[in-house]
Amino acid sequence: MTGQLGNVELQREERVALAVLSGEIDMSNATSVRHQIAEFVTPDDDAVVVDLSELEFIDSAGLHSLVELGNLLSERRQQLFLSTPSGSHVERALEIVGMRNSVPVHPSRDEALEAARASAVERRPVEPTDG
């Protein structure tokens, strides 16, 4: 939508929380984007997929907020999956800052969702924690 810098669309697909980011994420909205996703995720979600395919721009603050989201999720035994086409500028940025090694990145949303569902099988039930 015009007027906004970046947009987050949230939906749930079989116990996987899906966030589709579009527009631009920079220092001005990175924290808000992370909060929007974090607030959407419930303890019942097995994993979280953040689709970056439609993103026009993301800066290091935006990438950092994804790292922080991943850390928050891993404390709850929920795994973060990213998707962005191979060779995209977002993929290159992930590569440069070394995030490709710490977060699974898939070339499409569907592949990321599939990987997320597969990870759910391994997830053990946990008690909800604070924070």
Binding site: G3, Q4, M27, I96
Partner: protein, 537 residues
Amino acid sequence: MDSTGVSTLDPLEVLRRVQRVSDTALAHLTVQDLLEELLLRVREILEVDTAAILLLDEDENELVARAAKGIEEEVERGVRIPVGKGFAGRIAAQRSPVILDRVDHTTVLNPILYQKGIRSLLGVPLIVHGKVVGVMHVGTKTHRAFREDEVDLLQVVADRAALAINARLYDRTRIVTEAFQRTFLPDVLPYLPGLVMTTRYLPAASAIGVGGDWYDAFTLPSGDMILVIGDVAGHGLPAASVMGKMRNALRAHALLGGSPLEIVARAEGFHRHFGQGELVTLLVGELSADLRTFRFVSAGHPPPLVVDADGARFLANGRSNAALGLSQPSAFQEQTVPMGHGTFVLLYTDGLVERRGESLTDGLERLRVAGDGVLRATTPPVDALAALVRRVIGDERPTDDVAVMLIGREAEVARELEFAIEARARSLVTVRRALTRWMSDLEVPGDVMRDMTMAASEAAANVVEHAYGPSGGMISVVGKVEDDRIEVTIGDTGAWRGASRQDRGNGLRLMRAVMDGVVIDSSPAGTIVTMAAKVRA
């Protein structure tokens, strides 16, 4: 108080008594104090028991008790008398003195008068510039036959009072309305590099004209700029307060996102639901952050004037151009203006083009000709706008409010880019848009453009985060192109605090990875980061 023994006043005594209601001691009183003091003196010089002033509420066409002596209840109860009804109403309607020898429910509307035992009443109209602004009346608790010279004396007093009241009321209304009005105009215009923008607001010459015109401009999180110009019919505080509401509502509506069409549709719904049927015209425009497109929707507003190399012309307002509340939201239509280099768009309120005794068509043509002459010349835009306004309305203050807002693009493609912007996170998008626009004007290849924009955005983010304390500072941006090389420097004048956070380290890593060269030059005077990229043809 029996007055049968009082003989006709001699002229000197009349003068002396009139003097008492116009002496300089009254000059500094507030309106209320002035009214109270006048009544005390009137009571004294005419030797009456009661005195009261009612002022006309023009909107309701009613007289409202504003000050009273001997019948203070009249004011306390906020007595209102319709013009034409009762004693005071009759005076206002027939614009001449009225004497009552019998005071009861058959002759007066306000029961306080006979409840207080008033037997005789004399009232005169307060007239300023031929217009009734109120009524002043005096009464006695004993029967009294008011003589003609007493009627004349009260009328002289009333005339003096009317002038003083009028001057002070309008002066005050004017000051308050203008001050109120100005709080709703932006103090600082938003800044987009490469955009020329200037505005003017001229309050009407007469106090009654000041009121409902406004303009507003602000950037959205996307970096796009919203421009609003509007006009609430009517004048004074009522119009100004509707204007204030609309202005704030529009800011909220714009922040929700969406096109000018959606913003106007929301404003339409807002006005339908919360408005009291006031006539509001407005124009909402959006200038894209890359300055290339201006799109707008008009709701009953005069058409924008576009001036470019081809001349000056008005843009049609679309199929329906009804004011808010008078149209179906679906009838509004969005118009798009491509903003090339040297294109100006002028938004204005009708005070600029409306002149008594002249058709609107003539007024618009006068504006078009002036715009063509002034804006195509290479004057600095601030002077150009002042000159334009002067040419259209002359040197005198306008009879109605005038608000004007001019936006335009620099005449030529700039080989060098240079600007400074507030070191805030929200400025980053503006830095990126400005760089992209500049590089694409210079036909820099897309991948170089993208890398440079990313690197510069990271460098600017570093400034936001590290260069300044909370009191803030500026980010300076300079871009240069030399042969096959493009160079952008991001500078600040702050003393860097440690860049320990991981994302900032990543920022530098990103910059180095996508640029052919990154040089960081830090000194106590500030830091300059120079980024260079090769431009392959």
